[in-house]
């Protein structure tokens, strides 16, 4: 029997038995952890809101044989702005879903956690259309699958880049083009997001180009995960 402490973001929860929940947390030191939060669905529970998806929490766990047990939870940030806006909440959940799919049990990846916390805070502060696509693109880069956006993936040309092909992993020039068409505005946004101009790109108002980048980044993420993100299709239909 042993106790350990860690911090992390709650990715998802589901009901267990009469009043408990299983909580999936992406922690800094222990990677993805599944733990039981006892009694949280009872109204007098001391954890309650602290263990809901999107919450950034400091936790103490008791190491169990199959599942760990949450013994303490203190809130670091609850991002209330995300919970008061249906669309923003949906976009936050999409990021959580991608991290849940990507993260391995018990394999720490503090860089991913740092990015997730940063992205949630950014989304809570300001409803930029590029938060989620930028998060996906940066996450792919971190995983070693940074899309090539500066030169044609087939011939190395630096100009006249007019297409993006997910299978080839980047942009293509007019002569080599395959995949989907890419407008100059969308290309410029991709280059800024991946090339050190993220902060400024996040201030872009919604446009056709931000929408294109969103669709493209989501497809690239789904391609990498080898599955569809459920929350994307739910939110598209809502």
């Amino acid at each position: 029997m042993s106790l350990y402490r860690d911090e992390g973001v709650v990715l998802r929860t589901w009901k267990l038995g009469e009043a408990d929940r299983i909580v999936v947390i992406f922690t800094k030191g222990h990677g993805k952890v599944r733990a039981v939060a006892k009694g949280v669905r009872k109204t007098r529970s001391k954890f309650g809101a602290r263990l809901e998806p999107t919450s950034h929490v400091a936790l103490q766990f008791y190491e169990g044989r199959e599942l760990d047990i949450v013994t303490q939870a203190e809130s670091i940030d609850q991002y209330p702005a995300l919970r008061e806006d249906f669309d923003r909440l949906g976009r936050a959940v999409t990021m959580l879903e991608a991290v849940d799919q990507l993260a391995q049990d018990r394999e720490p990846n503090p860089a991913v956690l740092r990015m997730l916390v940063g992205a949630l805070a950014t989304l809570a502060a300001d409803d930029s259309p590029l938060v989620v696509p930028a998060f996906f693109l940066k996450l792919l880069a971190l995983e070693g699958f940074r899309p090539e956006v500066d030169t044609c993936v087939a011939c190395g040309a630096e100009v006249d880049l007019v297409a993006f092909d997910i299978d080839s992993g980047g942009v293509l020039c007019r002569a080599c083009r395959r995949g989907q068409a890419l407008t100059p505005d969308a290309l410029a946004l991709l280059q800024r997001v991946l090339g050190g101009g993220l902060a400024a790109a996040l201030r872009e108002p919604p446009s056709a180009a931000t929408h294109d980048v969103d669709v493209l980044a989501t497809r690239a993420m789904e391609h990498h995960l080898e599955r569809r993100l459920r929350s994307v299709s739910v939110m598209d239909h809502a």
Partner: protein
């Protein structure tokens, strides 16, 4: 290749689809069922078949009902102009215990949970919208759970219902966040109902 005989694996798979039952619990329950006498097993199977045959969902509000309509929809003393929207039939029990509500209900049969692939299309949302006009509904009280899925569902419904011209209210805060409505005591839930506030719907 499964480690279990096919009928046992089938049973484990079926049990694993029940809410709150993980693979380990499914295994445990399956082995418990294996040890039951034939009579006990048949009684359980019969109870499941009975409930499926005799109890259905109310065609109006999707509460459990023994006939076409549930007791609340069939009761002429209930006010049809106020509809209380809940996630599950058992939440109706919690609201009834408060004695504060005399309108009708609408059971969504779940809450929006994007990661589980549950959106408005998987819930009884269209059916709610279809009741507003014909039943002369003037107020919809959103009584979904005070957790993230329940709040998301309330935000969505509020945005959907506002343009219809109906008054949309949400049970007041004061309910412990993260908890399930069914565990709220009647005093707290009663106060939350009484103190419900109008939502602006953005």
């Amino acid at each position: 290749m499964s480690a279990y005989a096919a009928p046992v694996q089938d049973l484990i798979d079926e049990l694993g689809r029940l809410p709150g039952i993980g693979p380990k619990s499914a295994q445990r329950i399956a082995y418990h069922l294996l040890k039951l006498s034939r009579d006990d097993a048949l009684r359980l199977a019969h109870a499941i078949v009975e409930v499926k045959d005799r109890v259905a969902f109310c065609r109006r509000c999707f509460n459990v009902a023994e006939g076409d309509e549930c007791g609340y929809c069939a009761d002429p003393r209930r006010d049809p102009t106020v509809v209380c929207v809940v996630e599950e039939p058992r939440d109706i029990v919690a609201v009834e215990r408060t004695g504060e509500f005399h309108g009708r209900y609408h059971v969504l049969q779940g809450a929006i949970s994007p990661m589980d692939g549950i959106g408005p299309d998987q819930l009884k949302v269209k059916e709610l919208l279809a009741r507003i006009e014909p039943e002369g509904v003037q107020e919809v009280i959103l009584c979904t759970n005070p957790n993230i899925e329940g709040e998301a569902t309330a935000m969505y419904l509020s945005r959907l219902l506002k343009p219809v011209g109906v008054r949309v209210t949400r049970i007041a805060s004061g309910l412990p966040v993260g908890g399930d409505l069914e565990y709220a005591d009647e005093l707290t839930l009663g106060r939350a109902l009484e103190g419900r506030r109008v939502l602006d719907g953005d």
